[in-house]
Symmetry: C3
């Protein structure tokens, strides 16, 4: 049986991984996947805390499955506002997927 759910993806600087994980867990999210060997080159939306354009930097990708669409959007916006809107380089996005149950 397939169930449509939201996949929330965060790609950001590796140095804030533990902060993001702590924050995710504070939102009662218990399951996620991390891709470690990721790097990024960025311009718009990838400006780093140092104020300069991010160099070809060490990134991570965190992937979270959230069943409810409204909750997924809320979590995505919280993470974006807390970490990515001004402080760290990165991107947050949503994809609809169909999970086997």
């Amino acid at each position: 049986m397939l169930k449509q759910v939201e996949k929330l993806i965060i790609i950001t600087e590796r140095i804030i991984i533990s902060k993001i994980i702590k924050y995710i867990e504070s939102l009662e999210i218990k399951a996620y996947t991390i891709y470690h060997d990721v790097s990024g080159q960025g311009q718009r939306g990838m400006r780093s805390i140092s104020g300069g354009l991010s160099r070809f930097g060490e990134n991570i990708r965190i992937e979270i499955i959230i069943e409810d669409e409204e909750q997924a959007v809320e979590v995505a916006e919280k993470i974006y506002n807390k970490y990515l809107s001004s402080r760290y380089a990165g991107i947050v996005y949503l994809e609809k997927i169909r999970v086997v149950k």
Copy 2:
């Protein structure tokens, strides 16, 4: 030219990679991509064979392109039932993508 096809994604424990690959190949699937440097923290659906909740574990992600939707669902459910419904931690899901031909 773009063609809409299904992308089947399996994220599971690294220890069963060779079993899953053998099983995939027994289903006449000859092309796939593997992401190695992946880890996971799980709750629901991520219970490991040891019976406990999976620790922050070493995972892999396998990605398979399947043209026919019905076949994609069938393969996804077979893999889920064989490995993930009760024995290993992990998730199987489908995404519609448009491939350049």
Copy 3:
């Protein structure tokens, strides 16, 4: 606020990473993410330059966000025609995602 955009994904042989990056940048694309620890086994569409079927090879995945759908398709087809239609093993595909702004 969510905005629907295109995610363009290229999975190909690691040996051409610098060529592809140079080409992407010549198309005025300034931001992308690279996944390094990826391997592939291929058949159709994965034939390598050597003329034989690609072995279980060292691959990379490059991910680019492009706002305009028409431009995304154009870039995808250019990369496919230049590198993947006959010379290197790989795949190029598009997914619709919703980015937090």
